[in-house]
Amino acid sequence: MSETRLETQALSRHFGALRAVQGIDFKLAAGARHALIGPNGAGKTTFINLLTGVLPPSEGRVLLSGRDITSTVQAERVKLGIARTFQINRLFRGLSVLENVCMAMAERAGAAGSMFYPAGRRTDIIDEAMGLLQTLKLADVARHRVSELPYGRQRLVELAITIGLKPEVLLLDEPAAGVPSAESHIILDAIERLPEDIAVLIIEHDMDVVFRFAKRVTVMVSGAVFAEGTPREIEADQRVREIYLGQAVAGTHHG
Amino acid sequence: MSKRTIAALAAAAATALTASGAMTSQALAQEVKVGMILPYTGVGAEIAQQMDRGMEQYLKLNANEVKPYKITIIKRDSKAPNGAASKIDAQELLTQDKVDVLAGWVYSPDAIAAAPVVTAGKRLAVIMNAGTSFITNLSPYFVRTSFTLWQSSYVMGDQAAKYMHAKTAVVAYTDYPPGKDALAGFKTAFEKAGGKVIDAIPAGGPEATPDFTPFFQRAKDDHPDVLFVFVPAGDQATAVVKTYAALGMKAAGIKLVGTGDIVPDNKLQAMGDIAVGLITVHHYNADLANPQNKAFKASWYKTYGANATPPDFTSTGAYDGMAAIVHAVKATKGKIDDGAAAVKSLEGWKFASPQGPIMIDPQTRDIVMNEYLDEVVKGSDGKLHEKVLVTVPDVKDQCKMLGIGPCAAKK
C-alpha cells in the first residue's frame, strides 16, 4: 500500500459535557479518495476542524506524513499541505474570481508578505491562476465579482481556492451542499479531475456522490468511528443500513 | 410689548447691516474693519453670543462716540479650542479681508496659537476674554480688556484671610490652565496673608460636567475654614453650589468661596436660595450700581427682551474691548492699521466701564480694574442679587507682577 499522509491517534474533542469527537484512529493514504459519512451531529465537521487546527484536540495526536502536527497552528498546517473547503462558502465576495484564486496562490508562493512591488507584476501567479480557472471552466467569469455568480459556481471558486494552495491533503466539507442538483455535476466533475497524488477526504450526505467518488468510506456516529470499508462493504453492512443509510437516503432528496 | 418687538426688530436690522457691511462697503464714513474670532459653534457658542451682544451694546450706546468712523465687524468661527481654526481665521482676516484690528478669543489656546500671526500681521489685537496670564507676552500687539484668573483669585485669597479670617483652605479646581491659575493665585495670596492651603483637588475637565460629590466629600473630610472653588462659569457652577449644599458643608462650618465664575449672573436665579451667603470675588456682576452698568443693562434688556440671559463679565470684556478699539481709532485719527501706534494709544488708556473704572497697564498691555468681594443676598423682589462687601481698586495681574514662570515679561 502507498504510505500514509494524514493520521490521527485517539483524537478526541469535548465541549464541556458533549463529546463531539472521541478516540478516533484514522489513516488517510497518499492519493486516497476517502469519504466520511454519518448522520447530522456525528462530529464530522468538528473532526475536520481538528485536522486543520481550527480547534485544538482535548486528547490524541494528529500526524502529517508521520510528523506530529497536533500543536501546529492552522496557518502552518496549510503551509505543510493541508487545505479545506467549508460547508458554507467562505469567499472574498467583493473581489473577482481571479483575485480570489490569486489570493490563495500568493500566500502559497510566500509572496503575500511583500510590500514594495505591485501584485500585478507576479505574472507567474496570475497566469497559474488563469490556468486553474480554465481547467475548472471558470475562466469566462474570471473578472466577475464572486457575489455575482450563481451558488454552484461559487462552490467551484471555493474549490479553486483550495486547489490553488497545491495541497497534499484536501478536506472537502460537503462540497455540493446547497448546490441545485442541476449544477452539482460541475462540482463533482471538478473533484474527479483532481490530481491523482492528492489525498482527498470528503464529507458528503449524498450517497450517489459517495459511491461514485470514494474508494474507501468511514462512517462516524456520535463522535466515534462506527464502520470503515469499501463502498461495497459499507453498503452491505447491515448495521450501517439500519442506523444510517435510511435517513441519509432521505437526506439526499433535500441535499 | 409691541414696542419692544419693534425695538428688537430695529436692533436685528442694525446687526444685519453691520454684518453685511463687510460685503457692501459703500461707507461714506471711513470704515474700520474689525476681525472677530469667536467660537460661534461648539462649547463656546453661548459665550460668543454674550460677547457679540456686549459689543453691539457699546456701539449702540456710544453711536456718536464712534462717528465719523464706521465699525464693520467680520465674524469668524474659531470652532473647537484647538488653535488651528483660530490661527487660520487670523491669517485670512489679515490677508484677505485686510482687517484693521483683530479681536475676540474666548479660549486661551486660540489666542496663543494666533500669536505668531498677530505679530507678523502688525495689527492691534484685542483679547476680549481669554484669561491665561502670559498670552500678552506672546505678541507686542496684544491688548487685553478681559481679565486673568490671577486677578480675581489672588484678591479672593487675600480677602479670605483678611476679611473672612480663614486660617485653612481647600482648593477644588477644574483641571485646565484657568483652574491652575486660580489655584496658584489664591494659594499665593492666602498663604502670604498667613493662611494655609491644606489640599488642592483637581475636579474634572472643562467640558463634561462632573459630579462634584467625591471631590467635595474629600474637601469636607479635610475640615478647612473655606473651600475655594474654580470651575468654568455655566452648568458646572450650578452643580458646584448644589453639591456644596447637598453635602451639608455649610452646617459643617466650611464656607464656599470662589471667583465669580461659581455664581455666574446667568445661573444665579436658577441656583435658588442655596446660593444665598456665597462669597466670591469678581470684576463684574450684573447688580453693580454704577451709572454705566445701569444704562448698559437697561439697553440690554430693551434689545434682547426681559427674559434674556443677563449680561455678564464676558459681555463687559467685549464691551470694553470695543471701547478700546474705538478709542484707538480716534487717537490714531483713523490710522489704526498702524498696529504699533494703535497699541501705544491704548497704553495707560482709562475708561469708565459697566464694571467700574478700568485702565490698560502701559507695561503689560493688560487690564487694571476693580475686583469686588460679593455676597449673594435675597432681594426684596424675591430674586437673588450680588451685594458688594469690599471694592479692591486697581488690581493688576499678579502673575506678571510677581514674574511667575511664563508670566515673566520676556526682555
Binding site: - | Q49, E207, Q217, R218, A239
Partner: protein, 291 residues
C-alpha cells in the same frame, strides 16, 4: 462612624450618577443589540427629550411628572418618524454609513437647537419635594439622588420583566440572539424595530431630563457624553438591559470611590476600567454575542 456615613454618601452619589447613565444608555443598548445599528445620535434624542422637559417646566410651567411624560412621548414620536423615514433605509447598509448618518443627525440637532432655542444651557428647576435633603438615618442625602436611584431600579426591573415575561420581550430576545431565525419564525422584525427604537429613544429623552440636574443641558450634549453612553453599552454587553444597569452602576460607584481617594487621577479611571473589562470580556459583562 462619620467615615461610614461619608462612604455611604459616596456610594449613593455613585449610584445616582450610574443610574442617570443607565437611563440614557439602556435604549442604545437594546437598539444596537437588536438592529446592530450604530446609533451615535442616541444622545441627541436624550437632549431633545431633556429640552422638552426643561422648557415645559421653565416656560410652560408644567409639573415635573407631566413634563417627563411629555418628554417621553415627544421623543418617542420624533424617533418613530425618523426611524420610519430615514433610519430603516440604513439597516442593510454598512455600519460606517450608519456612523456617517448619525453624526450628521447630531450636527442637525445641535444647529437646529442653537437656531431655535439658542446656545445657552438650560437648567432643570426641581420641584420643592425633590430639592431638599432626605434623612436616611445613617446620613442626610439629597432627595433627588435617592429618587433617581429608586426610579432607575424600577425602570431596570420594568424592562427586565418586559423582556422575560411578555411576548414582545421574548420576540426581542429571540431577535437579538438570531435575527434570521426570528424572521423565519414569523416575527414582524420591522414592527419590533420601530417599537423598541421609539421606546429606547423615549427612555433617553426622560434620561436627558432626569440627568440635567447633574449633566446639565446644552446643544453640545450629544457629543459631550457620547463616549460615556458607548462605554456603558459596550461594558454592559450589547442588547443586555441588566448588563447595562450593572455596568452603569459599577462604573459610577468605582469612579466616585477612586476619585475620592486619588483625585489626581482625574477622569482617567473610567477609561482604564473600561479597557480592562473589555480586554477580559470582549462581549461585555452580560453580552450574549461578540460586539
Amino acid at each position: 462612624m462619620n467615615f461610614v456615613a461619608d462612604f455611604a454618601g459616596i456610594l449613593l452619589g455613585g449610584l445616582a450618577a450610574g443610574t442617570v447613565l443607565f437611563i440614557v444608555s439602556v435604549g442604545l443598548s437594546v437598539t444596537m443589540g437588536l438592529m446592530g445599528f450604530v446609533n451615535l445620535a442616541h444622545g441627541a434624542f436624550a437632549m431633545f427629550g431633556g429640552y422638552i422637559i426643561v422648557l415645559a417646566m421653565n416656560r410652560a410651567h408644567f409639573g415635573f411628572g407631566v413634563a417627563l411624560a411629555l418628554g417621553f412621548i415627544a421623543t418617542a414620536a420624533l424617533s418613530i418618524v425618523l426611524e420610519r423615514t430615514l433610519y430603516r433605509r440604513l439597516y442593510r447598509g454598512g455600519e460606517l454609513d450608519q456612523v456617517l448618518f448619525t453624526i450628521g443627525l447630531i450636527f442637525i440637532f445641535i444647529a437646529t437647537l442653537i437656531i431655535v432655542v439658542g446656545p445657552e444651557s438650560q437648567t432643570l428647576q426641581l420641584p420643592p419635594a425633590l430639592a431638599g435633603q432626605l434623612n436616611l438615618g445613617l446620613l442626610y442625602y439629597r432627595t433627588y439622588s435617592v429618587f433617581l436611584i429608586v426610579i432607575g431600579l424600577l425602570i431596570a426591573l420594568g424592562i427586565w420583566l418586559t423582556f422575560e415575561r411578555t411576548r414582545i420581550g421574548g420576540q426581542i430576545r429571540a431577535t437579538v440572539d438570531n435575527r434570521r431565525m426570528a424572521e423565519s419564525l414569523g416575527i414582524d422584525v420591522d414592527r419590533l424595530f420601530t417599537i423598541t427604537f421609539a421606546f429606547g429613544s423615549g427612555m433617553a429623552g426622560i434620561g436627558g431630563g432626569l440627568g440635567a440636574e447633574f449633566l446639565g443641558l446644552d446643544p453640545q450634549y450629544p457629543l459631550k457624553y457620547l463616549v460615556y453612553f458607548l462605554i456603558a453599552v459596550s461594558v454592559g454587553g450589547l442588547g443586555s438591559v441588566i448588563g447595562v444597569y450593572y455596568a452603569s452602576l459599577i462604573l459610577g460607584v468605582l469612579d466616585f470611590v477612586l476619585t475620592l481617594y486619588l483625585p489626581k487621577g482625574g477622569t482617567i479611571f473610567i477609561y482604564i476600567l473600561t479597557i480592562l473589562i473589555l480586554l477580559a470580556r470582549p462581549q461585555g459583562l452580560l453580552g450574549r454575542k461578540e460586539l
